[in-house]
């Protein structure tokens, strides 16, 4: 299959080139106006508060802008539906639970840790056991299946983000993850782009040569 794809690439590229020729000739015939207009679109704000607006901006923009260090080439605003609708506000605000109660390794490991299903059931065997979302959770637990949470925050494989160093340095969870305690459904708050990382490292006088994170 790989072989087929590889050798299909040459005619494929030729095809793209041909299409490009036709399209450009066509747009050239349209008095050449749109190209300038498109680049004049406003770049999105770097620290959005409303993800819906951001998404909309991103979807409606006609052409890639100078986004390399801003949000739009990332999955910022990504707010997938989760297998169990876990309400952070209830747990954090109403119940005053600390982040590291569930994300137990955030202060001692590169990996913040996801709570075991058993941890959830520690309370929910009794608490709110009748609610439909809890029943979904209990179903997973009884079938001995872990909850397949949809991953929201992810840096590429060649980036190493040690959570514990950031926690140790006094960076709050909210600095990167946003006000999760207010999010009925968690979304990706920050762009997680390298520019975003580096700007903070510069600001806080942390090391920012490449091998700090890339190895």
């Amino acid at each position: 299959m790989t072989r087929g794809r590889k050798w299909a690439a040459i005619p494929g590229l030729a095809l793209i080139a041909a299409v490009a020729t036709v399209l450009s000739a066509y747009s050239g015939a349209q008095a050449g106006a749109p190209a300038q207009a498109a680049t004049a679109a406003q770049p999105p704000v770097a620290t959005p508060t409303d993800t819906a607006v951001l998404r909309q901006q991103r979807d409606t923009l006609a052409e890639p802008g100078p986004w390399a260090y801003s949000a739009a080439s990332s999955d910022q605003g990504y707010a997938p539906e989760q297998p169990v609708n876990f309400p952070h506000p209830v747990h954090v605000q109403s119940l005053q639970m600390n982040c590291v109660y569930c994300h137990f390794a955030a202060d001692k490991s590169p990996d913040p840790g996801m709570p075991a299903v058993g941890t959830c059931m520690g309370c929910h065997t009794v608490v709110a056991a009748g609610k439909p979302e809890i029943q979904k959770l209990a179903k997973y637990y009884n079938e001995k299946k872990p909850v397949p949470w949809v991953r929201i925050h992810k840096v590429p494989d060649y980036v190493h983000f040690p959570h514990m160093r950031h926690v140790d340095a006094g960076v709050t969870c909210q600095s990167c993850h946003g006000q999760v305690q207010n999010m009925p459904r968690v979304y990706q708050y920050s762009s997680l782009n390298m520019g975003w990382c580096v700007s903070c490292h510069v600001e806080r006088k942390a090391r920012y040569d490449c091998a700090t994170c890339h190895y």
Partner: protein
């Protein structure tokens, strides 16, 4: 297509725009957020496990009989790295390549997935219930039959005892403990003279070691402890022992020798008698084809007062006699107790059966006297000569059971396969040395495949058939039995588990005396006219074949010939010239029992009347990495035996002819000669005293009285000339200060703001610092006096850094849209291997093949130059210098121009040609579940990226993180890199050269220190310490 700048044509910008849009569309389809993946939590949080942080389990290596202690690094339930256990009395933290590659046995993609049974002539999967029922039925039928045989691997500890107990309950004879790698003749001689199978050899207490074919640095006996001792001995420099190697072929041990006496095969006994006894020197010299003066000089030296140690490990029909001569010499000279320590035996070598026992078994099998044959951890169908006919004899055994994990030649002939757990999944007790127990515990949360420990299987059969079940009534499984065996019981065992070792002893198996009388081969293989001697030897990496299915070991270049993924015939250049053969020409080696054909390797280190072939390759089964690679010289051995020990004779005579065809040698070597480049430097003992320790001098460089004399180009190192203001004259950098060896003025400039020494973490160059150099400078020293060239560091690097192997047959390039180059090692022939650290081996002298030559080994890795030639040529800044002294490669910046590699004087950058780390590619190097071994702290590199040694930056970061969380600075020698950790001769030291609390800071200014290609002003962070050559007393000093 024309690129027109006018408005009507296609603008380049528009073209790119459309391309970009098409690309974006592709990206949207291919990597939308749906692919971000899932976060799978635990169902229940396990104790003592933090995700993303490794746990370490001490256990015991079972790859050879020695039983070294290993510490398995386990991440999220999977073993990802094996390292030596520093507390273990045998290996003291070091580990050989074979031991490290145990992981690739554990995760071998060709392991049996579950039990198999023969149906309609084929092995098909079955269930454990059915398999156990069949086994129980057959054993009940064979009960009390003295012909039934169990062959087990050679191992120390409790399992052999358990096995014999179980066998006797069924009325079956005690098992045969067969290990084809075991040097049975030496064991026999040791027993007769020292009273133990394998004493500890201590080289530090002697001044002269004479080895007659005893490859104590290869795999003759307990190689890791022997290497450790040898390294310590050679580190004594002027007081170190000199090594004289006598044998037809210079093995790795032979290459480490200071003097080689190329005795013909078959003459060793005469030579031994002449040297160690009262034999006639002239007669011996004539038989051996060596100079009588040389032999006489050595004999005189041995008779003098020099503390001497004699070792003999030949493999001919008189091997035990030779070994006895050496052992008696040691006894007579009082070396026993000082250099030879029978009081500290390596127990894994006790109780081994000989080849003669297997031959006798084959005779019984052919006679129909063996109703049941059970095999565990041995592969006799492959490791015995074809002429013995083990495979055919198996056809006459009604019921054959294999407990092998792998589809090897023997298990494929069996009727029932009950795959054992891997040693890393099993409970066990080993007794490597008297008084110390080495524990074996499962390192995996759960087994990789549907396998069962053989102990459990045997116990279950016993309980199901109610035969001997009483002995196991109290135990639920084999693990429970093990816990009960441990002195002090389960609680004491639990207390001992963290270190993996405990004081005490477990009952040992009473080894049955070897039953079979050896059949001697002709005393000395008479060489007919036109014939050559043929020497067959176990590969230092693959042994007699058990390593063949581990890609790390196939890929790792043989330490002597630097060939991988291939078999070869070693032939002397003069003999090759006579046959009109050049490197790679096919040679046919024909004996009375058959012939094999393999490419020629012209080797100075072989006696001109001899050819040699390594064992270990030529598998016809054993999985994708072993099958069909190379040839097996056992196919042409007649199967003669040593007359006393019953060991298989590996020496014969053969007719060697040039065959049609030529194969490129799969070699990682550029040239075997240094061509005056002074890469691997050496110093004679006599010149040692003249070396001055390096010190900071006004000249701005380590005072190197030795540097100039070794530097080529007239000994002038640029920037060190007198009269230039006493400093480096760096154009464009008038402010450059005189800086010592590790510090580069150019790099200091290139650091820009990072060079600000007032910064918190930053600033490699600190004028206030005692070294004038740095706050932190990661550096390495490699002591070439210690290095033996064993290449364990290379395997350690593969394991730590997710380095792909590239030589498997399916990893070649496309030669057309539908065909592929499927030659094993085709990528390596093209120079596409990925060995971040490689062992270079250079020959000095003896060019014409008439004289002895010297060998120098030097591990070559990224030198982390302070002034790196690779850095300025990168068009995308993918490589740069970090403030702590690392030359960094940023994979995600790299666009693969390979300019850096082109500009690297050390050739230590490796380009990922085919996406060896990408699962959907044909060349993928980690087929499931081999990928379970990958280190999660290290990026798996994709196609088109340059990669190289990182100085294990992930370990540096891990240590820094740990120190930071504990609120302290890094301590001296707090951690080390993978290659240094594994090194069995302790040649490699890593650390912060700017901090005196690290050992490396002292070693880097040793009087023997030098930088490779110092004249290029690269200011490397890898400092080599010169090898020390020990000349023969009366010979003129060389080197």
């Amino acid at each position: 297509m024309s690129i027109d700048t006018g408005s009507a044509g296609v603008k380049r910008r528009d073209f790119l725009k459309v391309l970009g849009a098409a690309g974006a569309a592709g990206a949207t389809i291919g990597c939308g957020t749906d692919d971000v993946g899932k976060l799978i939590p635990y169902l229940e949080s396990p104790d003592n496990t933090v995700p993303g942080v490794s746990n370490y389990y001490a256990t015991t290596c079972r790859e050879c009989a020695a039983g070294c202690g290993v510490i398995a690094e386990v991440r999220d339930g999977r073993a990802i790295k094996l390292e030596g256990n520093p507390e273990h009395p045998l290996n003291r933290g070091a580990l050989c390549s074979t031991g490290q590659a145990a992981l690739q046995g554990l995760y071998n993609p060709d392991r049996y997935r579950g039990p198999m049974a023969r149906e309609g002539g084929r092995l098909v999967p079955t269930t454990w219930e059915k398999a156990l029922a069949t086994l129980g039925q057959q054993l009940t039928g064979a009960r009390g039959n003295a012909g039934a045989t169990f062959i087990n691997q050679s191992e120390s500890g409790s399992f052999p005892v358990f096995l014999d107990q179980w066998l006797s309950a069924f009325g079956l004879p005690a098992h045969l403990s067969y290990d084809a790698d075991l040097p049975a003749s030496a064991v026999q001689a040791h027993r007769e003279v020292y009273g133990v199978a394998w004493p500890t050899f201590d080289f530090t207490a002697t001044r002269l070691v004479v080895s007659i074919g005893a490859d104590f640095l290869d795999n003759w006996g307990a190689s890791v402890p022997q290497q450790l001792s040898w390294g310590d001995a050679r580190a004594k420099l002027a007081d170190a022992p000199r090594l004289v190697y006598i044998g037809a072929r210079r093995s790795l041990t032979g290459l480490n020798a200071d003097e080689w006496i190329a005795a013909r095969p078959g003459s060793e006994l005469l030579v031994a008698q002449a040297l160690f006894g009262e034999g006639d020197v002239a007669q011996a010299a004539q038989a051996a084809g060596v100079s009588a003066e040389q032999l006489q000089r050595l004999a005189t030296e041995l008779r003098g007062g020099t503390p001497s140690l004699a070792l003999a490990g030949t493999s001919g029909p008189d091997a035990t006699e030779v070994a006895l001569a050496a052992a008696r010499f040691n006894q007579a000279r009082g070396a026993v107790g000082t250099s030879v320590k029978p009081a500290q035996p390596v127990l894994g070598f006790e109780g081994g059966a000989s080849y003669a026992d297997v031959r006798a078994l084959v005779q019984r099998m052919n006679a129909g006297q063996v109703p049941v044959l059970m095999v565990r951890g041995a592969n006799p169908a492959f490791t015995t000569p074809r002429s013995l006919g083990f495979a055919d004899a198996m056809g006459k055994v009604p019921f054959k059971v294999s407990f092998s994990s792998f589809p090897d030649e023997t298990s494929e002939l069996c009727d029932l396969v009950l795959p054992d757990h891997h040693a890393l999944e099993t409970w066990g007790i080993a007794q490597p040395v008297p008084g110390t127990i080495s524990l074996q515990q499962p390192t995996m949360t759960r087994p990789v495949f549907n396998t069962r420990p053989t102990g459990d299987v045997l116990m279950a059969v016993s309980k199901a058939t109610a035969v001997g079940a009483g002995a196991y009534a109290a135990y639920a499984d084999y693990a429970a039995w093990i816990r009960a065996q441990f002195p002090g019981g389960p609680s004491a065992l639990a207390a001992a588990l963290p270190t993996g070792i405990a004081r005490g002893s477990v009952p040992a198996r009473s080894a049955p005396a070897s039953a079979a009388a050896p059949v001697a081969a002709p005393a000395a293989p008479a060489r007919a006219e036109g014939e050559l001697h043929l020497v067959v030897y176990p590969s230092p990496l693959l042994g007699t074949g058990s390593g063949g299915n581990k890609p790390w070991l196939q890929e790792l270049a043989d330490p002597v010939t630097k060939i991988s993924w291939q078999s070869w015939v070693e032939i002397h250049p003069l003999t090759a010239r006579r046959l009109a053969v050049v490197n790679g020409d096919h040679l046919t080696v024909q004996t009375a029992t058959g012939s094999v054909t393999a490419p020629a390797y012209l080797y100075l280190g072989i006696q001109p009347d001899t050819v040699a072939i390594a064992l270990g390759r030529g598998h016809t089964a054993y999985g994708r990495y072993a099958k069909g690679i190379g040839i097996n010289p056992l196919d042409i051995l007649a199967g003669g035996e040593d007359s006393r020990s019953g060991a298989l004779s590996l020496v014969t005579t053969a007719r060697v002819t040039k065959a049609a065809g030529h194969a490129d040698l799969v070699t990682t070597e550029g040239s075997a000669r240094q061509h005056g480049r002074n890469i691997a430097q050496a110093v004679a003992v006599s010149a040692l005293a003249a070396l001055q320790p390096a010190e900071l001098q006004p000249g701005g460089r380590f005072g190197s009285s030795n540097a100039t004399e070794n530097a080529p180009y007239g000994g002038v190192v640029p920037g060190t000339e007198q009269g230039h203001g006493g400093g480096h004259d760096i154009p464009g950098l008038p402010s450059s200060k005189p800086l010592p060896g590790l510090r580069s003025p150019i790099a200091a400039d290139a650091q820009g703001e990072l060079a600000d020494s007032s910064g918190k973490d930053l600033g490699m160059y600190d004028q206030e610092h005692w070294s004038g150099m740095a706050k932190r400078r990661w550096a390495m020293t490699v002591d070439l006096a210690r290095c033996t060239g064993c290449s364990a560091c290379v395997t350690a690097c593969y394991a730590e850094n997710n380095i792909p192997t590239v030589g498997a047959p399916w990893q070649g390039r496309a030669t057309s849209p539908v065909t592929w180059d499927e030659t094993p090692g085709a990528n390596i022939v093209k120079g596409r291997e990925m060995t971040w650290i490689r062992l270079e081996r250079y020959f000095e002298g003896g060019e014409d093949g008439s004289a002895d030559f010297e060998t120098r080994f030097i591990p070559m890795l990224c030198q982390h130059c302070g002034n790196a030639p690779c850095e300025p040529v990168c068009p995308v800044y993918a490589t740069y210098h970090s403030p702590d002294g690392l030359n960094v490669q940023v994979y995600n910046r790299c666009v693969g121009t390979r300019y850096c590699s082109n500009n690297c004087p050390y050739k230590v950058r490796y380009f990922n040609w085919f996406g060896f780390g990408e699962p959907n590619r044909r060349q993928y190097a980690f087929p499931e579940p081999l990928n379970w071994q990958l280190n999660p702290d290290v990026t798996v590199r994709g196609k088109g990226v340059m990669e190289k040694c990182t100085f294990c930056v992930q370990r540096i970061r891990e240590a820094e993180n740990r120190a930071k969380l504990e609120g302290r600075p890094l301590e001296g020698d707090e951690f080390t890199v993978a290659c240094a950790q594994a090194c069995p001769s302790r040649a490699i030291t890593f650390g912060d050269a700017a901090d005196a609390s690290w050992s490396v800071a002292q070693l880097a200014v040793d009087r023997r220190a030098y930088h490779v290609f110092e004249e290029l002003n690269t200011f490397t962070a890898v400092v080599y310490l010169k090898k020390v050559n020990h000349a023969a007393p009366s010979a003129s000093p060389t080197a």
